[in-house]
């Protein structure tokens, strides 16, 4: 009996660790020639200010998110709560991040990495080398860049799903009626009870 249970546990572990992610209704993959899939945050001439509502572990936090494109490969993001207290101010690169300020309650390494992951996936310019094929959807462009799936609408990104270990990790929805910048961004973390809702407030214009 013990040998059977041990074997069963091993099989379950093996199956779950080998499981690959299946995008809804996709039936195959085709190659793509370096398709640029997130072009929202390339303009270095101004910064954007979003009204932010965050729900983290059942705790609501309201404030403002400042988002500055330093270069297509570097974005600076700060979150300030409604009382004017900076909660974090980080520069995000494709392969890491640098903290300018982080409030003591967010200083845990895993928390910093989670925040950097969220804002990296929102802002990062990516190029896809593959696209999904759907059986019944002829014009349903979903591109694959690394571990992320980018669904485009009117040729701008509409939804991103990042996948880790065969499971969805982050789901990002953009609402961009004018296509220039997202008016609204919603992020849902699938591992932690963490939701971020950003509503565009204004450009950082200028002295």
């Amino acid at each position: 009996m013990i040998r059977f249970l041990t074997f069963s546990a091993f099989v379950v572990f093996l199956l779950s660790s080998c499981r690959s992610y299946q995008y809804l209704d996709a039936v195959g993959v085709r190659p793509e020639n370096a398709k640029e899939v997130n072009t929202f945050f390339l303009d270095t001439s101004t910064a954007l200010i979003y009204r932010a509502k965050v729900e983290a572990f059942s705790k609501p936090i309201n404030g403002s998110v400042f988002l500055k494109t330093v270069s297509p490969q570097e974005h600076r993001v700060a979150f300030v709560n409604d009382f004017g207290q900076t909660l974090f101010d980080i520069s995000i690169f494709s392969d890491g991040h640098k903290s300018h300020f982080i409030a003591p309650e967010l200083a845990k390494k895993s928390m910093q990495e989670t925040l950097a992951d969220i804002f990296r996936i929102i802002t990062e310019r990516r190029f896809a080398n593959a696209a999904l094929i759907f059986k019944d959807k002829q014009h349903y462009p979903v591109y694959i860049a690394g571990d992320s799936y980018y669904k485009l609408k009117r040729n701008v990104v509409d939804n991103i799903v990042t996948v880790r270990g065969g499971r969805e990790q982050l789901v990002v929805d953009f609402n961009s009626p004018k296509d220039a910048i997202p008016e609204q961004i919603e992020v849902q973390h699938k591992k932690y009870p963490l939701k971020v809702n950003l509503i565009f407030e204004r450009y950082d214009q200028s002295k």
Partner: protein
């Protein structure tokens, strides 16, 4: 005659808008403390406030506006009115919050910065003494008005602020502005205006 840029800059500097910060001498401190002690008669305060958040990498500040109500030593209400509506009442060791109709209550201390500023505004309004165990207290004249600079001594507070400047009005001698500077040098200014002192404030203002 050739006038180069450096000469022009050197000429302009003395007339520029740079803040002049001068430590008070002993006599000035004494006069200032006397003026503070007269503020103890304040029982209520109603004022407008503007909050400016300055980030080094942004060109413009985030500006929020609202109203402040203070009654006695235990009742304080901050109402943000633009660009969002958000109410907070400090009462019985709790902060009651009304966030666009979503009401909740948290312990005081849930927001380190706000707890600090609320205590400072409350005590400064009444000419309260600053806690020398918690802060190194410096007295200055800034652009002709009195300013107290509080530098946190406690490690936990140092993580949030390097200095807290409390600036007093030259006309009514009451608190005019609080500036909280963070370790990153980013800072938040709270500027009070339209102060109404010792006018009746109904207790219902502090019910959310």
């Amino acid at each position: 005659m050739k006038i180069n840029i450096i000469s022009v800059v050197l000429l302009i500097i003395p007339f520029g808008g740079w803040s002049q910060l001068k430590p008070m001498d002993a006599a000035q401190v004494q006069v200032f403390e006397q003026s503070l002690s007269q503020l103890e008669r304040v029982q209520t305060l109603e004022a407008d406030f503007v909050q400016y958040k300055h980030m080094s990498f942004m060109k413009t500040a985030i500006v929020s506006k609202g109203k402040l109500y203070l009654k006695g030593t235990n009742l304080l209400r901050w109402s943000y009115l633009t660009p969002f509506v958000y109410d907070m009442v400090f009462k019985d060791g709790k902060i009651q919050i009304n966030d666009e109709g979503n009401k909740r209550s948290i312990d005081v201390g849930g927001s380190a910065q706000f707890e600090k500023i609320s205590k400072l505004v409350s005590s400064s309004i009444r000419g309260g003494k600053y806690d020398q165990r918690e802060f190194q207290v410096g007295y200055f004249i800034k652009d002709g008005v009195n300013m107290v600079r509080l530098t946190p001594k406690v490690t936990q507070a140092k993580k949030y602020f390097t200095t807290i400047d409390v600036i007093f009005s030259s006309t009514d001698k009451h608190i005019q502005e609080v500036v909280l500077t963070e370790p990153s040098k980013d800072y938040t200014r709270f500027v009070l205006s339209n102060k109404k002192i010792n006018k009746h404030i109904d207790d219902t203002i502090f019910n959310l």
